[in-house]
Symmetry: C2
Subunit: 384 residues, 2 copies
């Protein structure tokens, strides 16, 4: 009898399941233009199954592919030179993608562009059942301001986006609490207010009186000293604590104490901001870690006497100092996220550290998870 390696069997099973799902489920022809297309652009489209239909003119091309969710789909050419094709069903929410045209990886000229995967690329929005919480609605809208500043620590110009709530410019004597909110790896300071829709989430929560009006500062998590090639978490911590926070407290009407200051991040940003929090418990009183923790990527049991220099050893002190310790992730997160976050929450539980845990249904390591995390986290902040 012929022997198959485990790898071969897995590949065969995967191929079969792909074929099976493609054959099994008919493509429903209810495609609509994606909500994150450029004005007036019909393609790409999304259907009710979450399938993505792309279309691009490339008369002389030999091979055009849609590169989405780790799969490269070969498109087919019509007699007018337009290439099109449909993907497998995608999770609800936002996904980055690219097109491949005869070996060139380029953005789809139909979409708006989003910074992720270390470049400005295309994005697609698969409507989620709960999309109302980040929808553009008839509520008072805050402003998102581009704020340019010079960092002496990195000897470079940097930029953050600052959300100020709708009543900020009306109540010019009122001061506001601040949430510092960080992006993930290979993303940048634009992520939270563009694909993250942080401003709309806050507008809706504040209008519904579910969250208190707050300022949200979205900076770039990459920082390095002059001459250093690699960005470092510790340089970013220095920039955050010595430059960003003092600048925000000077330029905006903040309440500048720990009680009214929170810090959160997604993935790499969760890892970074947990370190910043634990090194600076005099600066922050609340924390949100979305799809990430500082023990990433390991799933090993955490020894609190050693982890982050023993910062989680004294549960009583932490419970006293930290008002909200929020952890969130998607139910479909890939390895190593569930395991390393699991090891972290196990340590918290064992230590007796209070925390809130949230799971986003049917989402992976992507923006719908993080939009939902923010929507769960922000209402907990600055309430007492």
């Amino acid at each position: 009898m012929k022997q198959y390696s485990v790898k071969t069997v897995l590949v065969l099973l995967f191929s079969f399941s792909l074929c099976w799902s493609q054959v099994d489920e008919e493509i429903i022809q209810d495609f609509k233009s994606s909500s994150v297309n450029q004005p007036g652009k019909e393609y790409p489209k999304v259907n009710s199954q979450g399938r993505v239909l792309v279309r691009i003119e490339a008369k002389e091309a030999k091979n055009v592919q849609l590169d989405l969710g780790g799969i490269k789909y070969n498109l087919t050419k019509d007699d007018k030179g337009f290439w099109s094709g449909v993907s497998l069903p995608q999770d609800k929410g936002f996904h980055y993608y690219q097109l491949n045209i005869d070996g060139a990886s380029v953005p789809d000229p139909g979409t708006l562009y989003f910074y992720g995967a270390g470049r400005l690329g295309s994005g697609i929005e698969v409507p989620a059942p709960d999309r109302d919480f980040y929808a553009l609605k008839n509520v008072p809208h805050g402003l998102v301001s581009e704020n340019i500043y010079f960092s002496k620590i990195t000897n470079s110009w940097r930029r953050c986006f600052v959300y100020t709530p709708a009543d900020y410019d009306q109540n010019t004597k009122k001061r506001y609490p601040v949430l510092y909110l960080q992006h993930g790896s290979f993303e940048d300071e634009t992520g939270w207010s563009v694909q993250g829709k942080a401003n709309l989430i806050l507008d809706n929560l504040i209008s519904d009186k579910k969250a208190v009006p707050m300022i949200v500062v979205m900076d770039n998590g990459y920082a390095s000293k002059e001459g250093e090639t690699n960005a470092s978490f510790s340089v970013f911590e220095e920039v955050m604590t010595h430059e960003i926070i003092p600048m925000i407290d000077t330029k905006f009407r903040t309440i500048s104490d720990a009680k009214h200051r929170a810090i959160a991040g997604l993935s790499m940003g969760a890892n970074q901001t947990m370190r910043i929090l634990m090194n600076n418990l005099d600066l922050f009183s609340s924390y949100g870690g979305f799809s990430g923790t500082s023990n990433y990527p390991t799933a090993e049991e955490i020894d609190p006497s050693k982890f982050l220099n023993g910062k989680f050893n004294d549960a009583k002190k932490i419970n006293q100092k930290i008002n909200v310790l929020f952890l969130g992730m998607g139910t479909k997160e890939p390895i190593p996220f569930p395991n390393s976050i699991g090891a972290f929450t196990a340590m918290l539980t064992k230590q007796g550290v209070d925390y809130v845990f949230y799971e986003s249904p049917n989402t992976a390591h992507e923006w719908l998870t993080w939009r939902r995390c923010l929507n769960q986290f922000a209402p907990l902040l600055f309430k007492n």
Copy 2:
């Protein structure tokens, strides 16, 4: 003797001059990465002649072109599958461009993206000798805020960007004059603060005390009523006067009178804002028309008793009502701009209407002309 048509002779002369200039001028090998590339991207590059060097991987492609300034340059492929090529010298300043890969017109994955020509596309910056006036310098920086609002007139969500000067958030009792600043055709509300660098120009002017601190509102010049397919100037005028101005006067600390309100635009925006100005002399006291006038595209002599319903008939009234009437254009603007602007200024002169005229040296119908126009215009505003 063989006869050549005028067209043939012109084509031959043009081809000859292209060959000649390509042969004549050696390509100087001092290419540097463009200042508007994505972070960490080496290509495209620009040399001291203003030539653009692009490079993209497309292993299987048959034909890759750089589409810049109305010319499609064929690129050549190296043995690793990278296509590259060098353009003719470009004017100083900012230019939109695209790549063509086997018939697909796509943005270059190396650059930031800019809304122009009715799409988000690539851009290149050829350093100008006077680039200091729009450089990011160590001066106090204002904020550029994204402001979302619902327009009842168009029954749609719209967006403007609002520049507030550096001292706006410090002096919470101070009120500021406002400049409404419009983009050109196939551009949008992002143009002035991204490729236009309006915020940096104002930061530098205000820091040098050449311009008074002012708010700048950059909205989208396209507006149509529900069910109408084409945007109309008159609907935009209604949105500007009935929605944008009242909203800005409510949300921001403006001085809400005509004396402290100016309106300006480039190309289509110059045409639109001149109409808005002349229909609303009770709302605005200053005007800037950059590379455009409301008689566009004709070069015919203007009859002031008929043009814009006779609005320029009464020079005395105009001189009384309009504090600054500024017109600007580049010395290399193509037909019909010099002629239609010329016909307009001839009419102003004949009528005895006071105006300021500025010519940007060696620039065409492009952003360096408009950056320079703003730099000339803003210092004239709100001075008395």
